[in-house]
Symmetry: C2
Subunit: 441 residues, 2 copies
Amino acid sequence: MTRPTPLSGFPEWLPAQRLAEQQVLDRLRRTFELYGFAPLETRAVEPLDQLLRKGETSKEVYTLRRLQAAEGDDEQSLGLHFDLTVPFARYVLENAGKLQFPFRRYQIQKVWRGEKPQAGRYREFLQADIDIVDRDSLPPHYEAEIPLVIGDALRSLPIPAVKIMVNNRKLCEGFYRGLGLEDPEEILRIIDKLDKIGPNAVTQLIVQAGGTEAQAKACLALAEIRAHDASFADAVRALGVEHPLLDEGVSELTAVVETAREHSPGLVEATLKIARGLDYYTGTVYETELAGYEQYGSICSGGRYDNLASAGRDVFPGVGISIGVSRLLGLLFDADALAVSRPTPTAVLVALWSEEERAASNRIAASLRARGIATEVAPVPAKLGKQIRYAERRGIPFVWFPASASIEGGDQVKDIRSGEQVPASSDEWNPPAEDMAPVLR
Amino acid sequence: MTRPTPLSGFPEWLPAQRLAEQQVLDRLRRTFELYGFAPLETRAVEPLDQLLRKGETSKEVYTLRRLQAAEGDDEQSLGLHFDLTVPFARYVLENAGKLQFPFRRYQIQKVWRGEKPQAGRYREFLQADIDIVDRDSLPPHYEAEIPLVIGDALRSLPIPAVKIMVNNRKLCEGFYRGLGLEDPEEILRIIDKLDKIGPNAVTQLIVQAGGTEAQAKACLALAEIRAHDASFADAVRALGVEHPLLDEGVSELTAVVETAREHSPGLVEATLKIARGLDYYTGTVYETELAGYEQYGSICSGGRYDNLASAGRDVFPGVGISIGVSRLLGLLFDADALAVSRPTPTAVLVALWSEEERAASNRIAASLRARGIATEVAPVPAKLGKQIRYAERRGIPFVWFPASASIEGGDQVKDIRSGEQVPASSDEWNPPAEDMAPVLR
């Protein structure tokens, strides 16, 4: 076998990075559970026809085939899921009779997209999603709750400040309809390109789509509105457009912004240019900026969807958001902006005087582990300096010297950073709390 | 969309089962880290030629294709990994310069095999692996350490007793060679079938492979040996066969059995019929029986491998074991033998008097969450009885009544199981420790 090389688009972390990732995931889980979200996983595969319901993502899907499938095998075509929302909607329909609604779940899993890899964009990546779905109808206050959860979750991490930008599809649709524009979805798709192509090109596109210059100007004026509080509503009303759907959207977005302002001032900003590409959103939409990494795009996005999960008369509207964990960590790792204090869980290395004394070193290790202290025994009875260097190279902070003919008195433990060495009993000694496990920083 | 149905071989758990699975995984992780294993994940895909190096598994591999890949696209053929050992060996080769050896890692991930689904056998399933690899050579004491880790990990779970059955490839090969049999791998493959086809058929196969009846009898006598201590070695020697490789194997297996006996009496049994199908094992091999579930086969298997990871002159011998988490949980769930105390993380439901008072209920929830108490706010300001039933249906043990015009005095909290209701402050009240989170049992 020749030395293998990485596959573009399929990132793999080194152990220290995976330790960091795991601590990030543990903190996200912790916050999600504090809000009552239950954990869930779905299978990695979905029937291909389900994955292709939304035509625009079809090009990104990986299809599967059993290598030894016979010609006549009448197996269903399967593909790897490209997000966690579509599988979750399917899961809800499939298990509706066994779930309690409103149902809140979180789901942390890999997804796959056959896109061209680039900075922050992978072919295999980890997402952490939360969603709340209800049967028949979903009260809008859940759209206000999602940013609180995500705010708490992301602020539990040692990462730059996060800003959640929110908008509301009803607000935009109502505004466009109130203006007299007849294809609000087309306008939304045009506005979605604003940051990329600029206001002049947006005006052109709206005019091409049958709008007037004045209508385009009004759409751009709406897209410029940003505010951390309910004052965005005054700015909207100042544009003089009226429509019942606009009122509904303004009222829902006001609740989202004001609920967040009470909980976490500065976290959420009404940002009326936010459109989100995907068609299935029907109410609040979310995007997120990480301070200093704005150019890489949103690291956490989502929204309310009313029509994703339905079978016959059963409908299950939902609202959810997805943290792009791989994107977030990839950017921070590349910038050396996130790490753990040591690349191993091990806090103590028990030295080994001779292979015959391994059982004695094992007993000490077992005694420390029984009290929650991560411990390894030295691989070989090398010279003491070599055993200490073994610990040093790994970032293991303590080396334990078992009592033996080679050492006066009882066991001793050495902090190899300070050099301090003290008598110790494996039934009682504890490392300082900050040395118990690798610390995320 | 019609109501979807499950895909055979792709199990999905209900939320309560996933809560149980997650607690199982947390405990496994905890034990692995106490022994100094660092977490690792590898990508789900490997180049197809790597996956097919071992011909016997080729029929099980799922291959991938981008749906929109053009004819001329010269992309490498990829397949989903069917275990975690092959990807780990590849990872070690790829990252050898960045790892510290001996390197110990654990890896908990899904794997995929296109096999026919049956009880305890899935097409997508979760494995939890630990491995220790070293550069150039690996001391045999690591083969004795693996059962200690697995013993501690599995005994941290509320599951039936586990027995780890161990054997050693050198012992068998040395014995067969000492007997004068020239294709020890073939004999091993035949002995592997003993439980399935019985001793007479095994004798026939050995004779067909060129052995004598007497040699077959000796092989069967070896396969019958079982002992919880070093006495297995006496039984081997009583068969009167001699070979240097046999001595080496006996000595290594003695160390494995005796190390385990000191650590966890009864956990490990030398069981000389254990062969393991895979070709790459070269020393100790492990299989595991779960009391009461023996007929479903091993739930945790592995062994030492010397030749899995090598590139040019670099060789990385290793030893590892893999817990079949999905198989284990599937069997226990089917038997109603593993569950959590409630199907939601939520400990407290904060009642809601009116939609206008939602902010007040949110504040109470935030105050409880800040002290680690998982809390939801009621979805709608329904009648109190209905809110209590909402909590009951989900197994949420406490309902919180905010102070309001509707209630005398300050906040109160009710244990809806006992009916006991007491005044409480959201800054101070705590549920009993056993109600903080769902308990695995």
